[in-house]
């Protein structure tokens, strides 16, 4: 028996049903048909998936989620859902759309006509410690003072040095992030700075870019990269669905 359950990929603006082909999550041995459930002018992008089935965040499940969003993005703006939403029925999804109509509309307006581009900047250096010490003479002097004596440095001194280093590293990150964000200001609608993961990551940025301005954005990446010294490596990715520019938590029981 076919399931009544539906997996939810994202939300779009549409007044009529849209078909996206058999590109959905695999269910009962085949990629499922992706289509919309429309309420008023909002469409939920869904495919059949049993709520009783286990859905693990494996690559084979995560990639279809992202692929479907990519396909949808070719024709319209999509508010992406986080991976893992399965409703028991189409009626449940319609009810949610109706209930959260206002919040969903606001969110769709926010990202309308735009895509997300990612930009990660890293320090391409052998030792981040040497690099940071190298840009700060005061830190270098303190390091020499702590380690330059004949007796071994105390635990407290080492901790103090470590703290100074950490602060200096984060200050360097903040300054360079501000500089880069400023340089992109004219080319983007919004930006978001995520916490860098990894000691050599300078910044992890997401930009909301007009769909028509992607090429200009990419050119800008090269220009900005050109303004930085050689140890700064710029990695950009995208276009993504605007994952970083969605602020929509429908868990609250909002009555509209």
């Amino acid at each position: 028996m076919a399931t009544t359950g539906r997996y939810l990929y994202g939300l779009i603006r549409t007044t009529e049903d849209v078909e996206f082909g058999d590109i959905g999550l695999e269910h009962a041995g085949a990629r499922e048909r992706v289509h919309t459930l429309v309420v008023d002018s909002v469409g939920a992008v869904v495919s059949a998936f049993s709520p009783k089935e286990r859905l693990l965040p494996l690559r084979k499940n995560l990639e279809p989620h992202n692929e479907v969003l990519r396909e949808v993005m070719k024709t319209t703006t999509v508010v992406p859902m986080t991976f893992g939403h399965v409703a028991r029925s189409e009626a449940e999804i319609r009810k949610t759309l109706r209930r959260h109509r206002a919040a969903i509309g606001t969110q769709l307006d926010r990202v309308n006509g735009a895509v997300e581009m990612g930009l990660k900047v890293k320090w391409d250096v052998d030792s981040i410690y040497d690099y940071i010490v190298g840009v700060d003479p005061e830190l270098a002097a303190f390091r020499d003072q702590v380690f330059g004596r004949s007796n071994a440095p105390s635990q407290n001194e080492k901790m103090e040095l470590g703290k100074l280093f950490e602060d200096r590293l984060n200050r360097e990150r903040d300054e360079q992030t501000d500089r880069v964000v400023e340089m992109f200001k004219e080319s983007v609608r919004e930006h978001r700075a995520n916490v860098p993961k990894g000691e050599k990551v300078v910044m992890d940025l997401a930009f909301l870019v007009e769909r028509d301005a992607q090429k200009a954005f990419e050119d800008r990446v090269f220009q900005v990269a050109g303004a930085f010294p050689a140890e700064y490596v710029f990695d950009y990715s995208g276009p993504w669905a605007p994952f970083n520019f969605v602020d929509l938590d429908l868990s609250m029981d909002v009555e509209n």
């Binding site: 859902m81 986080t82 939403h85 990695d235 990715s237 969605v246």
Partner: protein
């Protein structure tokens, strides 16, 4: 076992074939967005898959350890070096 499987795949240069520009995008980038960002529905209307957050913490650790291992490279142990995961621009 789910986690080691993902870790192995993370090191194998994932690629999104639908990208017109054929740029490589790392699995980490996808994971970070698809699992951490985006709209959320919870409560009894729509069932969120339980444990995703918890699993992600696990994944993060595995992916991080793969990165670390790659940098570590003990002598005599060949470690496959993946190509850059996304486009690299050097000034």
């Amino acid at each position: 076992m789910a986690l080691p499987d993902l870790a192995r795949r993370a090191a194998s240069r994932p690629r999104l074939p639908s990208l017109a520009s054929q740029r490589r995008v790392s699995l980490c980038e996808t994971l970070d967005r698809v699992l951490n960002k985006g709209a959320v529905v919870a409560g009894d209307i729509v069932i969120s898959v339980a444990g995703v957050d918890l699993l992600y913490v696990g994944l993060n650790l595995v992916v991080t350890s793969v990165e670390t291992m790659r940098n570590w490279k003990p002598a005599g142990t060949p470690v496959r070096q993946p190509e850059p995961l996304s486009q690299e621009i050097r000034p």
